[in-house]
């Protein structure tokens, strides 16, 4: 059993006197994909933002390899829903941004940009600007840009929810393929049950974070996980029904 890369330890969070979450804990192990699933406003992005270091817990803490997180850093890259690419930089410059900030040589920046472009299927687009790319390709740049920094955990905040269904499913498969290839650990936030079951190793259904409650599901689908066939697997269909029924019970209105 591998030790946890990330420890979310008895975290409470609130602002303006409002409690968003109370005493919430979980661990993420090396190389796994943990999905935070829940409707909007349930606090899943708040968790991601605390791990990213954008927000600070009111009490408790998030720990990466045992060290308390106290700000953003390249060991926890974020893929955003709207990509948030730098429109004034080419694809290669976007991908190599973390290396540029770390003052690595331009030869190394070019090498890593080419390597990561190949990994996410963007070879040949290195000199394009983001506005020349489709939504799916922009998200591929977002992925490559984070992977280039070799993060301990990749944080994905509803990364594919603005895309059409085909592109979305393609990128879900891509995410699994990249995990298999690089062994990276991923925290994935989504409100889509299908997406959660398809990409997740473990799913945390965030039922009520104000009491620190969530329900955990293990996904048991055959390797290679990236195979589209898995969407038709009886286990896929069973698990999504189980989660759907849970959500119906919990739906506040």
């Amino acid at each position: 059993m591998t030790s946890p890369v990330l420890k979310f330890d008895h975290v409470s969070f609130g602002y303006n006197g409002r409690t968003i979450m109370r005493d919430t804990s979980f661990d993420i192990r090396s190389g796994e994909i943990v999905v935070l699933l829940g409707p909007s406003g349930c606090g899943k992005t708040t968790i991601l933002n605390m791990i990213a270091g954008f927000l600070t817990p009111t009490s408790g803490g998030a720990f990466l390899d045992g060290r308390q997180i106290d700000g953003p850093g390249p060991d926890r890259g974020v893929v955003f829903q709207a990509a948030a690419l730098f429109d004034w930089m080419t694809v290669a410059q976007n991908i190599a941004f973390s290396l540029r900030c770390a003052r690595r040589s331009s030869a190394e920046q070019r090498r890593v940009a080419a390597e990561m472009s190949a990994l996410v299927g963007l070879s040949g687009f290195e000199d394009h600007y983001p506005y020349h790319l489709s939504g799916g390709m922009r998200q591929r740049v977002g992925l490559a840009r984070v992977l280039a920094a070799k993060p301990r955990v990749m944080l994905m905040d509803e990364p594919f929810s603005a895309l059409d269904v085909q592109t979305r499913e393609q990128l879900e498969e891509e995410t699994l393929r990249i995990r298999d290839q690089t062994g990276c650990t991923i925290l994935f936030v989504t409100h889509s049950i299908d997406e959660a079951v398809f990409v997740g190793d473990r799913i945390f259904l965030l039922t009520d974070l104000r009491t620190g409650d969530y329900e955990q599901f293990e996904v048991d689908l055959p390797a290679p996980r990236a195979a589209s066939e898995n969407r038709l697997n009886p286990e896929f269909i069973r698990l999504r029904e189980v989660i759907y029924r849970k959500m119906l019970q919990r739906a506040p209105h």
């Binding site: 990213a52 270091g53 954008f54 700000g71 953003p72 850093g73 390249p74 926890r76 890259g77 974020v78 955003f80 709207a82 948030a84 690419l85 730098f86 429109d87 004034w88 930089m89 941004f97 973390s98 540029r100 900030c101 770390a102 600007y129 983001p130 506005y131 840009r145 984070v146 920094a149 944080l155």
Partner: protein
């Protein structure tokens, strides 16, 4: 092709045609007003009389000074003031947009200064900086600086939260965030600011040349008007107008090149 859009080349031709048509129409109305003799020439001279004066100025100068010298004197004042105003206004504006304590230092002075008409400052500037180049340049500089600061600040405020966070989570330090994210995000607004500031600088030029001296297009206009040489007033106005047109087109062209991503996201 979607409805309501025309092909790029046709759209471009139509744009060029309309852009030329409007000044031609103005010239036509101007000619009609003067040809019928309904307006006295000292109030509105005919285009041909203005053209003759313009030609006279180009050939023989104005009040003993070649027209090139007048133009150069004005361009130097506007140019120096414009460069200094932008070089100081842009970084301070960007900082105001990102650091609230810096914004607090500037918020009251800039809000108080901005609405003051340049003409109102002239008596003070004569007392403080004399009637040489300095007072003229400082007057233009002040307003370029204020305009650039406001625009750069608005640009810096417009940076997307996710874009900032993306940079931070890829290891950018404060300077790198500023240099690689805040500055480029603010560039569209900065380029717009440059166009507004150039227009304003040329407006204030005439006022600044009230501050003594015998050089400059503002001087030509003021001197000619005090002797009721209306055709020379118009000639001077046209020359300033041309400088305005050329500089505005130049900045707009540079903006399209530099801020190539604007409107294409």
């Amino acid at each position: 092709m979607t409805a309501g859009e025309t092909s790029p080349s046709r759209a471009k031709r139509r744009y060029a045609a309309l852009a030329v048509l409007s000044p031609v129409l103005l010239l036509l109305v101007w000619t009609l007003l003067t040809v019928r003799g309904s307006v006295p020439p000292v109030i509105l001279p005919s285009p041909s009389a203005v053209a003759a004066s313009l030609w006279d100025m180009i050939e023989r100068g104005y009040s003993g000074t070649p027209i090139g010298t007048h133009i150069a004197a004005s361009l130097m004042r506007v140019g120096v003031a414009f460069m200094l105003g932008a070089m100081l206004g842009v970084p301070i504006g960007l900082l105001r947009g990102r650091v609230s304590s810096i914004d607090a230092l500037f918020v009251a002075p800039s809000a108080i200064l901005l609405p003051i008409p340049p003409l109102g400052l002239i008596p003070l500037f004569i007392l403080w900086f004399g009637i040489g180049e300095l007072s003229k340049i400082v007057l233009i500089f002040l307003f370029v600086f204020l305009i650039m600061m406001v625009n750069a600040q608005a640009g810096a405020n417009a940076v997307g939260l996710d874009t900032l966070r993306a940079a931070q989570s890829m290891g950018a330090n404060r300077w790198q965030v500023f240099r690689f994210v805040v500055l480029p995000s603010a560039l569209p607004q900065i380029m717009t600011g440059l166009r507004i500031a150039m227009g304003t600088a040329l407006t204030i030029l005439v006022a600044s040349e009230l501050l003594g001296g015998d050089r400059g297009l503002g001087f030509v206009i003021l001197d000619a008007s005090s002797f009721f040489r209306t055709t020379y007033v118009f000639a001077g106005i046209i020359l300033i107008g041309f400088i305005g047109l050329i500089s505005d087109r130049a900045i707009a062209y540079a903006a399209r090149r530099i801020v190539h991503w604007e409107g294409r996201r």
